[in-house]
């Protein structure tokens, strides 16, 4: 039994010592978890997102009986200051300097918007204040619109324009309330009902973390297993094992144990990072989740053996793994929703074991609805394990050809 544990220890130690292996197994999943959690976990949260917005007030000198234009300016000025200490304000507001020609400033800001340096440009046109005043007096008159320039090819610009629109709609409501045209007490109640989960929306990091852990296992199996076997075979290291009392089954047992231990290390790292750095709340301490994790680690390890069995050399094995890596990861729902795919890509989703494992793990953690029946969710990964074991037992060569 000692030799099995020794082989397992060797596998883990070698993986950790290899800088490239360490990068793909540990650093890259951690990097991706951090980047995606920092980016998508913050979308829509005030104090976590900042847009460069320009404000041009062309109505400053005109007769505005109530000061509506100044009211708009004040609100945006307020939003350009951090609402909470040490947090970023919602907008970084760019205004014309004193004495600067407003037309020139507007031209400059629109150019900046086209060049992606501004997310939106708000223009309060001349006559805006008196037009709003006129609207108050007679709702029939056509108002002078406030212009919001945005760039349709930029998601950030679209989002900024949407937020600017909401801010303006808030100002509009305030004006209507003050004018006695809108009764806030009679405003309709808007309720939010979250379905398919708990009482609130699932946290992005709770959705992301199970995917990242399985991604770690997947990369580990896809690159680690064929890499370790084929490079050791091609460099004739495996040959040295076969002159010792270690048999192939015992080598396999040690190798598999080491591989699963590495998956365990990955899990612990990612889980601790998700829980303590990003506030993940999902609990993996439940039988269904643990079984899915083990099934995932074994499936991906078996998949690695399949690649090792089919590749003639280590370089060919790595190339095959590289080809399969991206499509299998992205066509599984690990990162993006996979609804609306055409039939030929859906076919890949249905044969892809990652799809079933990612969905299965998320379902077991209560952060996603079941997309497949339980029989398929377990059957497809088990089918891949059986197929891989069959092919590997027949085709995998444990020594270089003489």
């Amino acid at each position: 039994m000692n030799d099995v544990f020794l082989l397992a220890r060797t596998y883990v130690a070698t993986a950790i010592r290899e800088r490239v292996t360490l990068f793909w197994f540990l650093i890259f999943p951690v990097f991706l978890l951090v980047v995606l959690a920092l980016i998508f976990g913050r979308v829509g949260q005030e104090g976590e997102i900042n847009f460069d917005v320009a404000l041009v007030n062309q109505d400053a000198g005109s007769s505005d009986p109530v000061g509506f234009a100044a009211m708009v300016v004040d609100v945006f000025d307020g939003l350009a200051k951090p609402q909470v200490e040490r947090q970023e304000p919602l907008f970084t507001l760019h205004r014309a300097d004193q004495g600067e020609d407003p037309a020139e400033f507007l031209d400059h800001e629109l150019t900046s918007l086209r060049r992606g340096r501004r997310a939106a440009v708000i223009v309060i046109p001349e006559g805006f204040g008196s037009s709003v005043f006129g609207q108050m007096a007679s709702s029939e008159s056509e108002g002078t619109p406030l212009i919001v320039y945005m760039s349709g090819t930029s998601v950030a610009s679209e989002m900024a324009a949407e937020i600017v629109g909401q801010v303006l709609s808030g100002i509009d409501r305030e004006i209507l309330v003050r004018a006695g045209r809108f009764d806030p007490a009679d405003a309709v109640t808007a309720e939010t009902v979250w379905l398919g989960g708990g009482d609130d929306e699932t946290l992005y990091v709770d959705f992301l973390l199970p995917g990242m852990i399985l991604m770690g296992f997947f990369v580990n199996g896809l690159f680690g297993v064929p890499g370790a076997i084929l490079f050791n075979r091609d460099r004739r290291i495996l040959r040295r094992y076969w002159v010792t009392p270690v048999s192939v089954p015992r080598y396999l047992a040690g190798f598999s144990l080491g591989h699963l231990a590495l998956c365990g290390i990955q899990f612990v790292f990612l889980f601790l990072l998700g829980r303590y750095a990003f506030g993940a709340t999902v609990s993996f301490a439940q039988p269904a989740a643990l079984l899915t994790l083990i099934l995932g680690a074994v499936t991906f390890m078996a998949f690695g053996f399949l690649i090792a069995a089919l590749a003639r050399t280590a370089n060919a094995g790595m190339a095959t793994a590289n080809i399969l890596n991206m499509p299998m990861m992205f066509l599984s729902g690990m990162f993006f929703p996979i609804t609306g795919l055409p039939a030929f890509l859906k076919a890949i989703v249905y044969v892809n074991p990652v799809s079933y494992l990612v969905n299965g793990l998320r379902v077991s953690l209560g952060v996603e609805s079941a997309a497949f029946s339980p029989a398929l969710a377990i059957g497809v990964p088990l089918g891949w394990i059986a197929l891989s074991a069959l092919v590997a037992s027949r085709k995998l060569k444990w020594d270089v050809e003489r």
Partner: protein, 356 residues
């Protein structure tokens, strides 16, 4: 000149025979855009989403219908009961739901659609405001006129992603081409034999560059063509800028690749290192998600990455983003500068027999 011609012939043959290199040059960018095109084509495009609606019987729905009619191109699907609507939201038959009982608007969301709910909630907020004003017979005092400043009609976020993918494919092919090829030649001892011939080391690098440049250029044209034909993306390509940029960016990134060839010994290590560098840049360069979504420190890192500037230059060359002409040429010629600076120096150290 004779040596260069011979090297050009042999490099072309090597590339044409190398199925893997062929796959990564032609099929990989295509695979990338086919997968991402279908996955990301509709992300953030709320106008393509569907909202389920249920109105209790006997309740006045006039204002709600007016509000929904003014809501744009979003599909509205009626339901017979609140339960049926809830089930449809959970089963993702509709993206989100709205129930009106005469007193409150209830919006139903699938709690697990974490990447999309933010956009649906924004739509819901807009609907509520409009509905509220209509109910009380109030007209908005402030009207907003949105103006799109883009020169090219937007067909979604993917229109901006594709030039980013092209830039990424230029970067990765540049990084891999020299590093993987030279280390493979070193490992097979081919380089040892070549350097003892009268071949100048720089001629080998020039031959690799010319062959990969032509193949890489054809690959970007195919990828762009697929984006236009399969996904209906619209580009206003400035062919002069596009061609010069690809040429300069490819040789510049090959310069970076030569540094990799210097520091690693095995081809697998070279491709692993190049892959790792490219992947980290891919996620930080604003290719898949806007830089504005990142925290301040990641935005600063992003602005320091060559891929960020490559992606922006490629967007400019394909007409989907504006940029100062001088900035575009500054980016383009900085890559050329990197190549001019690195190639002769590194040719001396990278193109030499393997270390014993």
């Amino acid at each position: 000149m004779k040596a260069l011609r011979a090297l050009l012939m042999s490099e072309s043959r090597i590339l044409l025979r190398d199925r893997m290199a062929f796959f990564f040059t032609f099929a990989f960018p295509l695979l990338f855009i086919l997968v991402f095109g279908f996955l990301m084509g509709d992300i953030g495009n709320v106008s393509e989403s569907a909202m389920g609606i249920f109105v209790e019987s006997g309740v006045d729905r006039t204002h709600l219908d007016e509000t929904l009619a003014a809501a744009g191109s979003m599909a509205i699907e009626p339901f017979e009961s609140a339960e049926a609507l809830e089930a449809a939201v959970v089963d993702r038959e509709v993206d989100f739901g709205l129930a009106w009982n005469g007193e409150a608007l209830r919006f139903f969301y699938d709690a697990n659609r974490v990447q999309e709910n933010f956009a649906f909630q924004q739509v819901a907020q807009g609907l509520t405001t409009d509905f509220d004003l209509r109910r009380q017979g109030a007209m908005p005092s402030i009207t907003v006129e949105p103006v799109d400043v883009g020169d090219v009609a937007s067909t979604g976020w993917f229109q901006l992603v594709l030039p980013g993918i092209l830039a990424f494919s230029v970067l990765s092919s540049g990084l891999f081409a020299v590093s993987g090829h030279l280390t493979a030649m070193k490992e097979r001892k081919v380089l040892d034999r070549m350097v003892v011939t009268p071949m100048p080391p720089v001629a080998l690098l020039i031959a690799i560059v010319i062959v990969r440049l032509i193949i890489g250029y054809i690959s970007t044209l195919i990828t762009l063509g697929v984006g236009v034909l399969v996904f209906g993306l619209k580009y206003d390509v400035s062919w002069l800028r596009f061609t010069v940029f690809i040429a300069c960016a490819t040789v510049g990134t090959m310069g970076f690749g030569t540094i990799i060839a210097l520091v690693v010994r095995r081809p697998s290590s070279a491709s692993n290192l190049a892959n790792a560098i490219a992947m980290v840049m891919l996620f930080l360069a604003g290719i898949y998600f806007p830089i504005e979504f990142m925290p301040a420190f990641l935005r600063a890192i992003s602005r320091g990455l060559p891929l960020t500037h490559m992606a922006n230059a490629m967007r400019y060359a394909t007409g989907v983003m504006d940029m100062a002409e001088i900035e575009f040429w500054a980016i383009t010629f900085s890559f050329l500068g990197i190549a001019i600076l690195l190639f002769p120096v590194l040719a001396r150290y990278a193109v030499r027999p393997s270390r014993q």
